[in-house]
Amino acid sequence: MAQAIASTNVPRWLPADQLDRLIDVLRADGRTIIGPTVRDGAIVLAEIQGAADLPAGRGDEASPGRYRVTQREDSRRFDHAVGPMSPKRWTFPPRAPIRLGRRTSAGVRFSGVDPRPTPRPTPLAFIGVRACELAAIKIQDHVFLDGPAVDGDYRARRASAFLVAVECATPTSTCFCTSMGTGPEVTTGFDVVLTELDDGFIVRVGSPAGVTVVDALSLSPADGSAMKAAEAVVAGARDAMGSPMNMENVHEGLQASPEHPGWAAVAERCLSCTNCTLVCPTCFCTSVVERSDLDGSISTSERTWDSCFNEGFAKVAGGSFRPLVKDRYRQWLTHKFSTWWDQFGSSGCVGCGRCIAWCPAGIDVREELAVIGGVGPVPMPQLSVVAAATEAPVTISPGSVPAAFVTVHVDGSSRETADTMTLHLNTTDRRLLAGRPGQFVMATLPAFSAAPISISRFRSDGLDLTIRAAGPATRALTELERGSTLGVRGPLGRGWPVEEMTGRDVVIVAGGVGLAPLRPLIDACLAERDALGAVRIYLGARTPTDRLFVEEVGRLALRMDIEVEETVDRAGPVWLGRVGIVTQLFDHATWDGRNAVAFVCGPERMMQATSEVLFSRGIDVDRTWVTLERNMSCGVGLCGHCQLGKFFVCKDGPVFSLAELGPAFTTDGL
């Protein structure tokens, strides 16, 4: 293959009036051609029939909040920058059915791989793809294909896409690819790349598929003068963008400035209209909409583009984790330019400038970065103009997390409190049975959204889920009776680090339903009791009737080898136990925490208060483990809902040590 490329890696010449030959070859492969064309006052991407549909002689100009199509002297077809659309619209469509659910006589059934791949995506050929867009595609490839979970739909669509890149000649005032190191030169990730001159194109290949296509055109080599002119084109584009910004400090700069006044200032102008995120070629956040027939027996879960600027995006039953527009703008900018590095090893921005041009309020991220992220201008080294196609094509790794909702049977259920039930599930699914304490599952019923539920016990023949009816979906789950079925995907996330307990004292602190994910850990303590030091369990609840697993806790309390203390926030006269907050159970205790490991689960505020007391008792931040609640939606790190700073709570957590979380644990609105 490297051989094949080398043999044809001589730049070729395609006369301007023969561009249709290239298009015809691609169509001959049964490909639909997606290219730039003028529609509704913009150069958009759409299916084109031939070169005639390309915007010959049209250009574009863009500035913050403003975009116009312009008329040009020449009749070049690609002398424009990027319009509002990017190939993302086809590789990662705005709406896609990802799951089918049915209620059958045999119970609920769900379609297999989730997200479900499009059966047979039409093979596409994109023509006119710019360096910044190639970079964006590479970034989304990494997000969706390099695991742990793989987006089957993206994989199917992406694998069938052929990329004809075009060197940028006339950037607009909103372009800043040179600052992000993604352009203007096309260097990698393409099948064929064109450099447009008045009378034709320099053609180079970047992949075996590209070789096949170009060979079919049997073009003569490009002559030296044309090559010179081609170099001038890209050099001109680079100069047009002026001196790049220095992005060195932005990674630390943004994460270090969660309280910067600049956030509130930009929030004054920000419309939280989501335009920036939806024109961005790398933004990948989605939500799932449930569509069903009237009685909910057949349902389709449709994935739609969503945005971190929407109030509902970070919502859980209790409220939104990012109530203010300021919080959401900070999330977007910080994620894009900083935490993306921590998550995916690159920036999330390719400098295409769409978010600047298509912001109705004309907010310019470059200015916000300068104000908040300490970004300044510096000269940058020139890169070679003509690209060498070295990079191997995308490698697609198989998903390493559960890729489907399996049907499990309800063997029975126990009422814990007025609104909390424990479902006893039977399953033979190896994965589920092999889960570890602290992991959770996504549980769903046809026509209902999937809800993250922590596993409250592992049995040899199944597991228990303890569910609080916080909303309609969870209520429907709590109402399931013996013999009914539900869909479960899991086990998900990182559980409690059980091994940390060996040879140490163990402190377990639970608040309310927070005891559910800790119960399997307690089971583990009992199983390995001899390997552990002292085991202390502190339980808090709102009132005596809000306590979970009452009988079981009673039995535990009788054991000599475990210390169990309980308290409630308020009680009536008949309650003879302790009343007070959970930390009062041990803030006067005499034990020494220097050789203890602590596991805490409860409302975030309670965990914060608890961890302070634990710290004062000698348990260091790297030995205090908490489990966080966020609005996990896909459960496998693909939908973006549960981000907390640099973490996806669903796949990096939900269990974290305080050392890992750092300030993220206590900063509001992250």
Binding site: G572, Q584, H588
Partner: protein
């Protein structure tokens, strides 16, 4: 009638007394005596004059407030080491809540007027005792604040 040493040991057994210097604790022990309360006894009644301060040695007491319509609500339990009746030191010397015995309880009791007089004439002892009291009150205050947040409260139900 309890001996001075049993009282001193009792004081030392809880976090409040343990945090005092031996000398200070000895002074208090001199003027204190042990008292026991059976289950159900009302040790202090909200609004009543209060003339003694006590440190719980063992047992459990409920600190209750009467809420019209809801009856008595226990907002806190007093555990060994905790202090009750600190109003005995601060005018107008009236109880701010009712305290009822939940488990057989014994306390080290200090007569209010005597204690006040003793602290007035001995600033060093006063400082020691009042620092501990301040600590006890501060902890109870911050705990009450957290309780106010009602962290385990549920979101409102919707029509569906």
């Amino acid at each position: 009638m309890s001996t001075r040493s049993t009282v001193d040991n009792a004081l030392a057994s809880g976090w409040f007394g343990a945090g005092l210097t031996d000398a200070a604790r000895a002074h208090l022990a001199d003027m204190a005596h042990l008292t026991s309360y059976p289950i159900g006894e009302v040790v202090i009644r909200e609004g009543q004059a209060i003339d003694s301060l006590a440190v719980v040695v063992e047992g459990r007491l409920a600190l209750r407030l009467n809420v019209p319509g809801r009856g008595a609500v226990t907002v806190l339990t007093i555990e060994p080491g905790d202090v009750i009746g600190w109003s005995a030191l601060i005018p107008p010397h009236r109880a701010t809540s009712t305290i009822v015995v939940l488990e057989p309880t014994s306390v080290v009791e200090l007569e209010g007027a005597a204690l006040r007089a003793r602290l007035d004439e001995d600033p060093i002892l006063a400082a020691a005792v009042l620092w501990r009291l301040l600590d006890a009150v501060a902890r109870r205050l911050s705990a009450t604040r957290t309780q106010l947040l009602d962290l385990f409260a549920q979101p409102d139900r919707e029509p569906w």
